[in-house]
Amino acid sequence: MTTVTAGIGGVAEAAEATGVATAPQPRHGLHTRRRKEALLAYGLLLPALVLFGAFSFYPFFRNFKLMLYETPPVPGLPAHYVGLHQIGSTLTSTQFTQSLVTSLIFVVLVIPISLILGLALAVAAHRKLKGMAVYRMIFSSTVVSSVAVASVVFGTLLNPVVGLLPWLGINPTPPALESTTWALPAVALITIWQFLGLVFIIMLAGLQSVPDELLEAARIDGANAWTRFWRMTVPLLSPTIFFALVVSTIYAMQAFGAIDILIGPMNTVRLHTNVLIYNIVNTNSPALENNAGQAAVMATVLFLITLGMTLLQMRFLERRVSYAR
């Protein structure tokens, strides 16, 4: 090793000794070119940086400041510094704990069903059959449908007068969206429908990365369809399933549109569908509670939950290496 280094050093020295006159010039040219490239890169990044700065980074850091200030209930009056006190009082308030529990119930209602249904659809659509592309398109279409449109459609279906339920002869009183028991499951149902497309796409991509030969080998080795699914497909798909779990949980923690459109802040069942994100928005809203400080504390909790999930996902992805063939 040392000899090699010495050798190269020797060559360099020799080159210097002979005085290669052209050497500095290309180096200079390289320098200017690098600088030009760097300038171009920063120039191209600038619009994105400005947008991120204005709408992501600035609000993100300002949120930490807001946590320390108490906003008076009447809009327009100056906020005053209360320090860490507000964090403690918010985190122990029943409003917060209830909304956190509601969020967790919502996640539990939405995630397992979305994942199982999404996986089932993906397994069904993974077969090589004629016309399967059409089904794949249908199954994944819920991703591109707007929350507002989906909510209006489901709202109509659940409508006690013109909806699907009365047509089927089911007439719950109070109607589903006004029932303290059924409002949250109803909103969860819409969210499941919306997530299905996303989970389906993720699962289908995962299934396509499982080599056919493995399943064929298992088939010859004597595994029936059930065993192949549980002992081959599911373990090989586990990183994908976990990814879908994390992503959809993060999304579920942020599900806002359906609740806002179908329940709304003035609804009597609002307390039963008051998930964390909805609580944050309403707490912050000048028309309602106008309490930016408390909203900031809760937003930070939501951020930490999301961050935790993301870190968990990254850890798991590292383990995925051992699954590489």
Binding site: E213, E216, A218
Partner: protein
């Protein structure tokens, strides 16, 4: 112990004909190599035995049982895939054990069998590892161990060596031959590599475009190829094929005895710029055929000689150490390869040479120019 029989097997994928009316039998305990270029249908044929592809027509039997509608798991075959298809989330031990577990073999017997298979293939020290932690050769051996562990009726091997490097391939080739001989399990082995086929197969079945071209022992296949495809495909380099016309020259050409008896004139294969006389034994068999024929000459059956009958110019000289391949082009543009020993003088590129054909009757192969089929007794 079992024989594998294809009877009139045809497989279509939509409009594509993958296997066309294949009738072939793998004898009990035999290692039969299915050889052919990619896309010739050999892997499809293998997969039909495994039960991974359904037949369009015909029957496949294992032993006395027609298995067309038998599920892969009930066929009692084991398959080694080109990619090995090891279960990446299971350890080596669990991989080898998997087929036994699926068949409800009890725990102690499983452990004993896994140990025996692992010992056979030198995997004892690797049982706790995952496939990702193994080298290509080790993975290959795990795949073999998984195949032998449950002592199936038939082994199916789909290009098991093609992912290995050259040196390891030679070694593993010998290992598989040895293993197969010891277990005497009927084996259907698919490859596109003719060296692998020649060195491993008890018999070789050559396929092209879905059709079986010839089935024979390696020597027979090499010495008496049934058609121009087999002639060209086997051997490295393959047989030289020259299109020409079968003509009779010498005294009998205008003589009164013509047609009365054989062997009077000298039968030659003539092409622009040259005429190659055929030895009497060869001429006997092909008299009356043609007149358009293809003359096949193995590269080792021709040599450079100043009194050779074929004129050509040297294009490339390939030095391989023990031997040299002199690649020439004849006047009509046909490529001829001359294999010569390392000691023979090497011609210069561009040099005009003359090529002589060995006097050995075995050196001459004649094929019909239209059908490509071998002429004379096969």
């Amino acid at each position: 112990m079992a024989e594998v029989t294809f009877l009139g097997v045809t497989k279509r994928f939509g409009e594509t004909l993958a296997v066309d009316d294949l009738t072939l039998s793998v004898r009990d305990g035999e290692l039969l190599v299915l050889l052919g270029p990619s896309g010739c249908g050999k892997t499809t044929a293998l997969r039909m035995v495994a039960g991974l592809e359904e037949l369009t027509e015909g029957t496949v039997s294992i032993g006395d049982r027609v298995v067309n509608d038998v599920d892969p798991k009930d066929r009692d075959v084991a398959m080694v895939f080109q990619s090995y298809a090891l279960y990446p989330h299971l350890t080596v031990a669990k991989n080898i054990e998997f087929p036994l577990r699926q068949r409800g073999v009890d725990k102690e017997e499983r452990a004993a069998k896994v140990k025996r298979a692992a010992d056979t293939l030198g995997l004892s020290g690797l049982l706790g590892r995952k496939p990702a932690q193994l080298s290509g050769g080790q993975r290959q051996r795990v795949a073999l161990a998984r195949a032998i562990v449950r002592e199936p009726l038939v082994f199916l091997m789909d290009e098991p060596l093609s992912n290995l490097d050259a040196a390891l391939r030679v070694q593993t080739r010998a290992d598989i031959v040895e293993l197969q001989a010891r277990l005497a399990t009927t084996t259907l082995y698919v490859t596109h590599d003719q060296v692998e086929a020649m060195t491993m197969g008890h018999r070789i079945a050559v396929m092209s475009e879905g059709r079986l071209q010839q089935v024979a022992a390696p020597e027979a296949l090499y010495d008496r190829p049934a058609n121009t495809f087999v002639a060209r495909f086997l051997g490295s380099p393959g047989m030289n094929l020259i299109e020409g016309m079968l003509v009779e020259s010498g005294p009998s050409e205008t003589g009164p005895e013509r047609g009365a008896g054989a062997g009077v004139g000298t039968l030659c294969v003539a092409f622009p710029g040259a005429s190659v006389p055929l030895p009497a034994e060869v001429a006997e068999g092909v008299r009356g055929a043609g007149p358009d024929v293809v003359l096949g000459l193995r590269p080792e059956a021709v040599h450079l000689s100043s009194d050779g009958s074929i004129g050509a110019s040297v294009v490339i000289v390939e030095l391989l150490g023990a031997e040299t391949h002199v690649i020439c082009t004849t006047e009509m543009g046909t490529r001829l390869i001359v294999r010569q020993g390392a000691a023979a003088p090497k011609p210069a590129i561009g040099e005009t040479v003359r090529i002589a054909v060995s006097a050995d009757p075995q050196a001459y192969h004649l094929f019909d120019a239209g059908t490509g089929e071998r002429l004379g007794p096969s």
